[in-house]
């Protein structure tokens, strides 16, 4: 079955399922996300939110169905192209995935270094993003000596530093108090207003009600329910 590419679609999932053994983490997901949309993926813990995101940046492979990201068919992408696909995404991982041996600065800079950015530009961008996320004073600290909330800010900074086309935020506010959570959310909204596509996985309905122009995709046990409900 072929998927016709929609000019404005940045992500299209067609009948996507993901199995772990016999257990379906995702079942028959069909979604079409336009470039520049602000999307919430909601659902109880274990509903498959993280898995859905992992399929997009190829941390996991789909079991069935097809995914198109920016016109690329993920099933066909060669392994040497995978890094370039991943650079389209800025991912805020649920478990942060900071490198404990590297300082806050180095963790954030890594993204740009991997993308062969010039050293001068790296320094400028990294310092700026750490300043805006409120970590400007801790650039030389190692992640393990940071609080959960601080680590999350670093994770956010790392996801945003490369100006990605798509931001995937997996529970980006779960370790933060409500003020800090709102700051992060405002950030993501700011990127959204500049045209970045933003996907936020959350079970915190509070932040959704605070955000006006988002679309909500709800998952229950790996399946879509009442999809595309506009808030």
């Amino acid at each position: 079955m072929s998927i016709i590419k929609d000019k404005n679609s940045i992500i299209r999932m067609f009948n996507v399922s993901k199995r772990f053994g016999k257990h379906y983490a995702l079942k028959n997901i069909t979604i079409d996300i336009q470039a520049g949309e602000f999307i919430f993926i909601t659902g109880a813990s274990g509903a498959g939110k993280s898995t859905l995101m992992k399929l997009l940046y190829l941390a996991e492979r789909t079991s069935e169905g097809q995914i198109l990201v920016d016109g690329m068919n993920l099933a066909r992408i060669s392994s040497s192209r995978v890094p370039y696909l991943r650079r389209k995404f800025g991912v805020i991982f649920q478990d942060f995935k900071l490198i404990p041996r590297k300082t806050v600065y180095e963790n954030v800079a890594l993204v740009l270094e991997a993308a062969n950015e010039k050293p001068g530009i790296i320094k400028e961008k990294v310092l700026k993003i750490l300043e805006t996320t409120g970590m400007g004073k801790k650039i030389n600290v190692l992640p393990p000596s940071l609080s959960g909330g601080e680590q999350q800010r670093v994770a956010v900074a790392r996801a945003l530093v490369g100006d990605p086309a798509i931001i995937l935020a997996d529970e980006p506010t779960c370790s933060l108090d409500s003020d800090s959570a709102q700051t992060i959310l405002d950030f993501l909204l700011e990127y959204h207003s500049r045209g970045t596509t933003v996907l936020i996985a959350t079970h915190n309905l509070q932040i959704i009600s605070n955000t006006v122009n988002g679309r909500c995709i709800s998952l229950v046990e790996g399946a879509l329910t009442g999809a595309a409900k506009l808030l």
């Binding site: 890094p83 650079r87 890594l110 993308a115």
Partner: protein
Amino acid sequence: MLYYFKRVVSDILSNKFLNSITIATIALCILVVGVFALFFENACRIIQSGEQGGKMMVYLGPEFNINMLPQLKFKINALGETEKIIFISKQDALKQLKKDLASRSSFIDSLKDNPLPDALRVIMKKNVNKLETIKDLAVKIKKIPMVEDVEYGERWLGRFLSIFSLFKMTGYAISSLFFMIALFITANTIRLSFYARRQEVEIMRLVGATDKFIITPFYIEGLLQGIAGGIAGLGILFLFFLFLSSGVEKNIPLYMLFNIKFLSIKYSVIIIACSAFLGWLGCYLSLKQFLKY
């Protein structure tokens, strides 16, 4: 590039133990190889300088007479870089033989005819000291009609060379054994340090790093370890050498004749290059399998 070096330095510092084991192993390997190379190089030099602008004896047939001498000298001179050609007539040779045999020379007096041939002693120029060159020349001279035989100490050299080549084979065998051991250990320490970093590597991949970006520092690390091990190994060898040559010269004056020298720059560079290659190969072997998604 600078970035990679920074990463390498921090990687090495954070993994001092494994790194020093690798470097020590490589150093040991290089030390063993170096001992053989040292012996080999010196032996080569001694063989060659022992011949000191090689010489040979050319024995002439009975058809030779003294009038032919200038022509013969000319022919030999045309064949190679000779320094001097000395004619030894059979009478002179017989006199010399009598002198050598001294008391037992009476049996020579009983000879009716002089059994010795006329001969030429050919001395080659200083720079002609390779066994092969001498051999070549000997073969050519032998083809001259009046020449019956040519002798150039090949028996003695031959025997020495066969011992020497046996030693060379042993050297190769032991060196390659040590090379394998060092390679095995290097490959495994790099595998270990890669394994210790697997989470980090996974994270790098997830944020869009290519395999090249991820493994380049490991390769540089391997190369540096190889070079460091090589230099350390040669350094230890040099200390040994200083110690040995000072000790030897006091106790065994004979050795002073040979005047052993340390490895030439060329050999040292080759050895260090090999050892860098060793580090690189260790890396290649252990990381090949990680290059998959």
